[in-house]
């Protein structure tokens, strides 16, 4: 059930990318989709009433959540940041050339 809610969040992002006609909105859609994927991966690694995977002084390993997805998502967050930065830079240059973020007015290419 909670997984499905996470997928709905992802779908909102995809919807935004496919339907909206504004560069910034598309970037926002990308961001939302990426958040949903990250959350989904962490949900998969969660254990009910688990502990954070950081050892306290007693060094007991007991009912900890899965550390592997956390490590992977750390990487995924960085990837998301990298893509966002790059895509904002490209959008700014497009704005500079055309004077608008509206994709319907930005159409030099045919296909």
């Amino acid at each position: 059930m909670i997984y499905l809610m996470c997928f709905s969040l992802f779908s909102i992002g995809i919807y935004c990318i496919l339907v909206k006609r504004n560069l910034i909105k598309i970037i926002i859609g990308l961001g939302i989709a990426e958040y949903a994927v990250n959350l989904f991966f962490i949900l998969l690694g969660y254990r009910l009433r688990g502990r954070a995977p950081i050892l306290a002084q007693d060094q007991v390993v007991e009912n900890m959540v899965d550390p592997l997805p956390q490590a992977l998502i750390l990487t995924a967050i960085v990837i998301g940041l990298a893509v966002t930065v790059l895509v904002v830079a490209i959008a700014l240059r497009i704005y500079e050339k055309y004077g608008t973020f509206d994709i319907t007015k930005v159409k030099k290419l045919r296909g």
Partner: protein, 499 residues
């Protein structure tokens, strides 16, 4: 030099990229020398890897010394070394070409840095044996290519790059969801381990969902037809060496290779999946060919033709028979060489004349003999004129389709080959034969390094058919095919060679 060879495929391009970014601005000429050196040594290592695989079979390298399901491993088998040779061969010739060509652009060192990062990404994807690691390196290569498409910073480049970035990121999210589901289901990220667990657990609905996600994700990266919209914009907009890399090897390394590896060796291929791949291939073939016919921009035409040819490759591989996979891989190699040759030719034309519009060209062979004849060889090869390399691979694909009793697909493949011939004849007629236009009287042939790499590629196109000679075929193509045909035995092979 046994196992230590494998990490070098990633370490060399990464190290040179970092060095170039540090010093390239200050020392003129360092960027050229270092990147050529790096790609040449990569090519050399790829050839070395073939003998290594022949001697030792599958080689597994444990990164950090951790045993695979815990740590990441790199795998070198015959398919890997086949792909490595394809990628690094094209990469080396393209770097040689770029020495003169990139004089037209500013910030050459940034170009080389991104180029080497992209190469590192592709080599990393090919060499890895871990699913998430594959995703990470796929992203390196993709992000580098997003930036490279926009290298000219003009209107079209930026727009194409934006489109490419957005679609590429969507593809990446699909792939990441697929990986997450697989991880939750099998609790492992190592490809061999996943494959083992999946064979134990048997078939289930989640597998078909994951297959769908991967087809969408990697299909977007490979530009199969329902997902192809970014390619005809992105590939023509990039500088010519990058177009050659993107069309020649990037879509194959990130898309087709990853699809092959995951579907054959990890998930296991079923007949539904096989039909799905084949029909995607056929649709790409037909639509790409038809759209290419109507283009006036030379690079756009080549880009559509790439979609069509990728369709051939996927059709061959999707058949799942030994002959089909062999033909698909052979066509993959051939397409890498002749498509990069053609894009380099178009780059030369643009370099000399400053236009990409076919209608403004004409009679260029008289002024630019090397470009003219090499593009003639490339065009003839891609449209399947015997005895050039493209003929053999297309023949094999059609034979394989007949052998597997897919007569409709075979006849469509024949028709598309004729279509290919038609639009390449159009290119030749408009650009290289006929009257020399007045506006083009003053043009000159391109500089030496550009000529060199074009000549080298056309020689490969002429003698590509030799790869089918039994002795060479056994070590190069057949063994790569065998790696795919092993299917789920992949897991046993990998774990067998860890000891």
């Amino acid at each position: 030099m046994k196992h230590e060879l494998i990490p070098l495929f990633v370490a060399i391009p990464l190290g040179s990229a970092f060095l170039i970014s540090l010093l390239g601005k200050r020392l003129k000429g360092l960027a050229d020398t270092l990147s050529n050196l790096a790609t040449f040594s990569l090519l050399f290592l790829s050839f070395l890897s073939i003998t290594l695989v022949k001697r030792l079979g599958v080689v597994v390298y444990k990164v950090g010394g951790w045993i695979p399901p815990i740590g990441i491993c790199m795998v070198l088998d015959s398919l890997t070394s086949f792909m490595l040779i394809t990628v690094n061969l094209v990469a080396f010739l393209v770097t040689v070409y770029s020495i003169s060509y990139m004089e037209r652009y500013t910030s050459k060192w940034k170009f080389y840095t991104l180029f080497l990062l992209m190469l590192a990404g592709m080599d990393g994807v090919i060499v890895t044996g871990d699913l998430f690691n594959l995703f990470v390196f796929l992203e390196i290569a993709s992000i580098a290519s997003y930036a490279l498409v926009a290298f000219g910073v003009e209107h079209e480049e930026l727009e194409a790059s934006f489109k490419y970035t957005v679609m590429g990121s969507v593809a990446s999210s699909f792939i990441l969801i697929g990986i997450a589901l697989l991880y939750s289901y099998t609790s492992s990220l190592n490809m061999a381990d996943i494959s083992r667990v999946l064979t134990e657990k048997g078939n289930s609905r989640i597998l078909s969902f994951v297959s769908g996600l991967f087809i969408m994700g990697f299909g977007l990266k490979a530009a199969l037809v329902p997902f192809h919209a970014w390619l005809p914009d992105a590939h023509p907009s990039a500088p010519a060496p990058i177009s050659a890399m993107l069309s020649g090897v990037l879509i194959k390394a990130l898309g087709v290779y990853a699809l092959m590896r995951i579907f054959f060796n990890v998930l296991g291929i079923s007949s539904i999946l096989s039909y799905m791949l084949m029909s995607l291939g056929v649709i790409s073939m037909v639509l790409g060919g038809l759209l290419a016919l109507g283009q006036e921009d030379i690079k756009r035409l080549f880009a559509y033709s790439s979609i069509s040819q990728i369709g051939f490759v996927v059709l061959g591989i999707g058949m799942g028979t030994t002959l089909g996979i062999l033909a698909g891989l052979f066509h993959l190699f051939n397409h890498a060489t002749f498509k990069s040759l053609l894009f380099l030719n178009s780059g030369s034309i643009e370099y000399a004349t400053g236009t990409r519009d076919l209608r403004k060209m004409g009679g260029l062979t008289a002024k630019m003999p090397v470009t003219g004849y090499s593009s003639l060889i490339g065009s003839m090869s891609i449209s399947g004129i015997p005895p050039l390399s493209g003929f053999w691979s297309k023949l094999l694909i059609i034979l394989a389709a007949i052998e597997a009793k897919h007569f409709i697909f075979a006849s469509i493949a024949v028709l598309v080959s004729i279509l290919t011939l038609a639009y390449y004849l159009k290119v030749q007629r408009l650009a290289f034969f006929g009257e020399l236009k007045d506006s083009l009287r003053g043009i000159k042939e391109v500089p030496l390094t550009m000529k060199l790499s074009m000549i080298a590629l056309s020689i490969i196109c002429i003698f590509g058919g030799l790869l089918l000679v039994p002795g060479i075929q056994k070590n190069f193509l057949s063994s790569a095919t065998q790696a795919l045909m092993n299917g789920n035995n992949y897991a046993q092979i990998i774990f067998g060679s860890i000891k």
